[in-house]
Subunit: 391 residues, 2 copies
Amino acid sequence: MNPLYFDNNATTRVAPEVLEAMLPYFTEYYGNPSSMHTFGGTVGRQINDARTKLADLLGASPEEIVFTSCGSESDNTAIMAALRSNPEKKHIITSRVEHPAVKNLCEYLAKTGYRVTFVPVDHKGRLDMEYLIRHLTDDTAIASFMWANNETGVIFPIDDLAGILSERGIIFHTDAVQAVGKVPIDVKKTRIDMLSLSGHKLHAPKGIGALYVRKGTKFSPFLIGGHQEKGRRGGTENVASIIGLGRASDFVAAHMTEENTRIKSLRDKLETQLVQKIPNALVNGDTDNRLPNTSSIAFEFVEGESILLMMNEFGICASSGSACTSGSLEPSHVLRAMGVPFTAAHGTIRFSLSIYNTEPEIDLIVEKLPPIIARLRTMSPFWKDTCGHTA
Amino acid sequence: MNPLYFDNNATTRVAPEVLEAMLPYFTEYYGNPSSMHTFGGTVGRQINDARTKLADLLGASPEEIVFTSCGSESDNTAIMAALRSNPEKKHIITSRVEHPAVKNLCEYLAKTGYRVTFVPVDHKGRLDMEYLIRHLTDDTAIASFMWANNETGVIFPIDDLAGILSERGIIFHTDAVQAVGKVPIDVKKTRIDMLSLSGHKLHAPKGIGALYVRKGTKFSPFLIGGHQEKGRRGGTENVASIIGLGRASDFVAAHMTEENTRIKSLRDKLETQLVQKIPNALVNGDTDNRLPNTSSIAFEFVEGESILLMMNEFGICASSGSACTSGSLEPSHVLRAMGVPFTAAHGTIRFSLSIYNTEPEIDLIVEKLPPIIARLRTMSPFWKDTCGHTA
C-alpha cells in the first residue's frame, strides 16, 4: 500500500530526479575528491557545482557553504564554532521551542559553565521579543533562533532578529531546517551569520546537511580532521549525497511557488475541514506566520498516539510531534512552551505536506479522521466528564 | 576510460550489491525510522538488521554499534566521549602516525588544557611500546592507537595494547578505519573499548561510519540532538547508507579470505616487480605486519606528485600519501615520524588494492611505471648529483 504521507517535516521522499543525479557516484565515479588523479578530481568539480546550486538557493556564495552530515551537526557546529571563536563570552540566547539539536546542546552547555537564556513564546508560539532584547548582553556569544518551528510551522521574525542582533554585534545562527525549500530565503537581504539546513527535509537523502557561514564570521571546526571543506569540517565528503543536495536545491527552487500556492491551499483545506467536522479541534500556533505545508491540530481529550495508530490502518502517516522527540509520552516541549493545555497537547497531530501530496489524499483524511476521533472519544473518560458529549 | 584504481585506502567503489540494497530507501521506503507509523517503523527494523550485520563483522553485539557519518566523526566521538565521561583526567596518549581526525583533534585539545603524549614509531613504523608504557599515568583518560596505518598499512600490536591498557584501566580506542574488512577483527577476543570504522573504505558509500562502544564503557554523545542511536548520536539516521554499510559488512566478510590471499599476492607481485625493475625504490614500513592490500614505495629523487600525474595519463590512480592530508606539498607526517629521508618521502607512492583489482592491471603498472620514474629522474638535479646515474 502506498502511504498517504503527511509527515514531510519528519522526512521527505527523495525526488527521483535527485536520486538519478546521485546514482553515478556510487559504483562508477567513486573517486575521493581529495585525490590527485583525474578520477577523483572530476568528483571534486561536481561537489563544487552542487555547492553553487545550494548557495544559489540561499542567495549565498559557494565558499560560504560547509557540507555536514545533517541538520543536527550543522546546529552543533554553528553553536560550538561561535563559542570557540569567542572564548571570552559565556552567554547563549535561544528560544524554548528549538529543535533538540539546539535545545539539548544548550542544556548540556549550561552544565559546563555557560549561561543560557531560553526566550519564551506566547500561546501562538510567537517569540517574546521584549524578553529577548532585555536579555542580550555584551557577554552573549551567540543567538540561535529557528526560522520555522518543526511542530507548528510558526515562523520567527528572522529579519527583525537579524537587525537587532547585528546591531549589537551578536552572532546570529538560525536553524532553518524546516524553512529552506519551503519559503524564500536570501542571506543577502537578511543578515544571518550562520544558517543550518538538512537535505532530507527537501527531497535530498538523509545523512547530508549544510551550514551557511557568512564570509568574515569567525569560525572553528566542530568535527576536527582533514582539510576538507577548506578546513571547516573533517571527513571524506559524502559525494553522492552532496550532489543530491545540489540537485534538490534546484528542485525545491523550481517548486517554491507551488509550495506556497497549491500545497498551502491543500493544507488550508485539510485544516479547515477537519476543524469544521470535528468538535473541540484547535489549530496550534500563529496561523498568520506559518510554513505553507504544516498544520498542527489539537484534538482535545484523545491521545495523539492512538490517533496515529488508527490513521495508520488507512495508510495515513502523520506525527504527534517532532520525530526527534518521539519515543517519549510527554507532550512536546514546543506545545508546553506555548502553554497548550495538557488535554489538547496530548491529542495534537502534525500534518506536514510536500509537493507529492494530492487533493484526493486530503479528501480521504477528511473522510477517515472524524470517525476515528469520535470513536476514541467514546473511550476517553475525560471527554464525557468534561464536555458532556456522548460522541 | 575505466581507471586502474589502486587508491582503495582513499576510498573504495561501492559494491553493486551494496547499492542494490540501498536503492529502495531513497524514493520508496523513505520514512523516518523514529516515526510512529508503520511506514517509518519498517525502516527502523532494517536499520536494526544492518546493525546486527556490522556487529557480526566485529564480533560485537548490535547495541554496541553507534552509526556516525564517517570515520572522522567516530574518532572525534570516541575521544570526546572518553574525556567528557572522565572529566578529572587530563592526559591523552596516542601515536605520531595517526589519521588527522585523531592527530589534529589531539593537537587542538593540547591547546585547551589537555596533556597529549604522541608515542614515536621506528623507521619501519612500529610503535615504541616502551615509550608508550612509560608514559601511561593515572591521569590518562584515553589511549588512541590506530589498528593499521592508512599510508603504509603497518599494523600496530592491538592485542598487546589492549592487554596493557585494560590492565591499567585506561580506555582504549582504536581507529580501525583501514583495518575493518581487510583483516579479521573480533572484539570478544581483543579488549578494545571503542573502535572507529568508515563505510567507504569497505565498499559502502561515503558519508557513513560507525563507532563500536564496548558495553559498560562510559559514554557521552559528541553530536548532541535527538534520541537517535539510544541517545548516543543525534540526527536523523542515514537510512540508505546504514543499510548499505550492513550489506557491505556481509560483503567484506565473504571476501576476507580473498583479500588475504589473491589481493595480498597481487600486492606482493606489484611491489616485488617494481622494486626489482626500478633502482632506488624502497618499501616503506614493516612488511611483516601489514595490511594485505597496501604497498608504500619510495622512488628516491623524484616528486610523488609528478609520478601521480604521469601515471594518471594511463588511468592509473594511486596516492602520494593520505588523501586527507593532500593539498600540501609537505611530506606526510607518517613518513616523517618514521624518519624516512626527505628524498625518499617526497617520492613515495601508495598503492592500495581491493577485490576489484586484477592481475593484468598489475602487469600494466609494472610495464608503465619504470619508464616514468626513469624519465622523471632525467629531469631531477638530485638524481644525477647524488647517484651519478644518467637514467
